[in-house]
Subunit: 410 residues, 2 copies
């Protein structure tokens, strides 16, 4: 392991100084080779699918794991898109002269060695490997055991292209020891690793956050609220609420709790009830909401639960004050929305709600690197520091100051 990490660290100096043209060429070659290797990738995937069958994995998990020709092509297409992204290294973020007439430039640079821990979908191996490469970083990937064969087949293709271009294979590699102990070692090697990105279950993320000495950018749960303000447009509010819950209930930017202003509840709730019923949503409501709709009574626990399913908690609030207080107490700092036509309410919500993404009159489902226009994403950070919210290629860089003098001393 130590040797592997040393090699990864040494490779990072090479990865960091590759020019944009070389990186694009390598990535498009990788895309081509992935398509050419479709057969062997599908063979490897079949082994994972067989194991999934034997281990009685759920159908949602199996779908995430499954690859076919179309999905391999999509993977390749994603690499081509990453290849075409604006060069993320060397952007001048700020620039000025100081009093001593030094010319100071704040310039984006790669982070170094990035460890990414993730589950299920094998395309993450290609995507995250490519994003790290494009941004001049070394990627150490630790996928789930359930996708072991698929990930290895994909990584092998990427690495063979690196080798063929005279680059160290370590620039994109799988963590050699993928056991719990392997992860435990990785997250404490701050001499070699500059960032850990854990994506996955709460237990994993908690374990990493508690034990890492390497900086961690968490991709934790999304307990997202939509607050329908007294002065909301009811039509718009209904459309947004249905979309936020039902478009894809299993994802982190889906709504988990709907807050409805007391003043608009008699109008909104019956309307929403019909729409949610039609969408098959299971409702859990507080007592005041139950005056207007039929639903199970929500317990205290419901306000803190990320259902990741077509279930919705509903609460009537007295006004924006209570809505913001509820979000402060129960939100996970991911995405929060207000629906209102009132200017001051919108401004107040945007200012006072402490979350990565705060919306007025739009669905929280937009919290996503693709929807933001980042081209591709590593994930959605629930950290407050380094990267917050959708984490694209620019968030895989840090900065340094380049200072141009003419002999100045202090």
């Amino acid at each position: 392991m130590e040797t592997f990490l040393e090699k990864a660290k040494a490779s990072s100096a090479i990865a960091a100084t590759l020019d944009g043209r070389t990186k694009s060429r390598v990535l498009t070659t990788m895309a081509e080779r992935l398509e050419q290797a479709t057969e062997s990738i599908l063979r490897a995937n079949a082994l994972d699918m067989q194991a999934a069958e034997e281990n009685n994995l759920g159908s949602a998990l199996k779908d995430r794991l499954y690859l076919d020709g179309k999905r391999v092509s999509a993977m390749a297409e994603s690499l081509r898109q990453i290849a075409a992204l604006r060069e993320p290294v060397g952007r001048v973020l700020e620039g000025w002269r100081n009093e001593a007439d030094l010319r100071i430039e704040k310039v984006s640079v790669p982070i170094g060695v990035i460890g990414v821990i993730y589950e299920s979908r094998p395309n993450v191996t290609a995507d995250v490997g490519a994003l790290c490469f494009k941004s001049g970083n070394v990627a150490i990937l630790k996928g789930g055991k359930e996708a072991e064969h698929s990930n290895r087949a994909i990584a092998e293709v990427l690495q063979s292209v690196l080798a063929e271009q005279g680059l160290p294979r370590e620039i994109i590699s799988l963590l050699p020891d993928s056991s719990r102990e392997g992860v435990a070692t990785l997250i404490r090697q701050d001499r070699y690793v500059d960032l850990i990105v854990p994506r996955g279950g709460e237990a994993l993320i908690r374990y990493v956050a508690e034990n890492a000495t390497v900086p961690v950018v968490k991709h934790d749960k999304g307990l997202c609220h939509t607050y329908i303000h007294a002065e909301a447009d009811p039509e718009m509010a209904a459309t947004i609420a249905i979309n936020a819950k039902c478009d894809r209930p299993g994802v982190c930017n889906a709504m988990e709790t709907l807050l409805v202003d007391r003043a608009i509840a008699p109008e909104m709730l019956p309307r929403l009830y019909d729409l949610f019923k039609a969408a098959g949503t299971q409702l859990r409501a507080d007592e005041r909401a139950l005056e207007f709709i039929e639903a199970a009574l929500a317990s205290e626990e419901d306000w803190d639960t990320e259902y990741l399913a077509n279930i919705l908690a509903v609460k009537v609030v007295d006004g924006i004050e209570e809505a913001i207080a509820h979000i402060r107490r129960h939100g996970s700092g991911h995405s929060e929305a207000i629906v209102t036509e009132n200017y001051s309410a919108a401004e107040r919500f945007l200012d006072e709600v402490d979350a990565a993404c705060v919306y007025v009159n739009a669905s929280t489902r937009f919290t996503d690197g693709g929807a933001f226009g980042f081209g591709a994403e590593v994930g959605i950070s629930t950290n407050k520091l380094h990267a917050r919210g959708p984490m694209g290629i620019d968030e895989l860089t840090t900065y340094k100051y380049k200072i141009y003098g003419k002999g100045q001393i202090r």
Copy 2:
């Protein structure tokens, strides 16, 4: 402790939404009150000085600890300068429309609750407290035991102004349990604390980095190099080298190792020898350098030592390749300089050396919030993430996305 941290967290929502005018008024009032309280602050400081005497503290430490009327005035003046800094909260860092016509703004926001661990100089209590306040954060300050009375007297003044303005005293407070256990608790309270900034000895920083679950921005050692390239202007190189080492040898941006290109060594080294001798610098040189100067033979350990004293390690290198390799191996990622008239050498050094601040033809002594023009600094980060290099008021903010819709769904 739990109650204290809960109060600190609750106060952060208030601190975050204060407007700039209020914050400036509070800070200028604090400055006034510090001056008015000079007598009681000096009385408290006398107790610390007496303890320092009894504990045989070194004269440098005692000087850092010592306060007089002039120093209290300087502290107040610093608060007035911080009051006058540009409002750091609510800056629009980026803004765009996405494909769905959402208007997305990336806006600076306070980090939340910031714990700062530091030593000796009591003015840090006022400075860091004020910087955190100006940037809408809550500050939990843990000063050194040696400055206990002084820090308490200063914090009391700041808190009384907060209380008088109807603000929670917890917005700027000293950690109630300042023992090792108190620190151990603080750095693991990620529910309440958003950032820990340790400034101080290597052991402290290592301890915090290894045990914190709260994100840490380290203010670690500066092992800074100056590389005199073959095509340096000898006059400029000598001026820069002397300044980088001798201006203030005890600070983190001072040079510790001088790398001299083989081609220019016969000319540079004898000239530098005379200058360093006149400045009382103790030299430790490698064998090749000893051909030109008299000095102790440097050991391997010297290349990794931050002397924090008027001692300099000197090494002759074959060229820029070896210089960069040496810095990669021994540098601490703080500040590195090249002196050269050669364009390509300058560009290569700037690109390939991985440090917070990389200089061409200037002294590394400029790595400093004040010198950078930041107005005031929390310290100099040796982290790669969140903040790197001089950490001013803007680095005490993070960001959120404000998203303005007109009913968009996905």
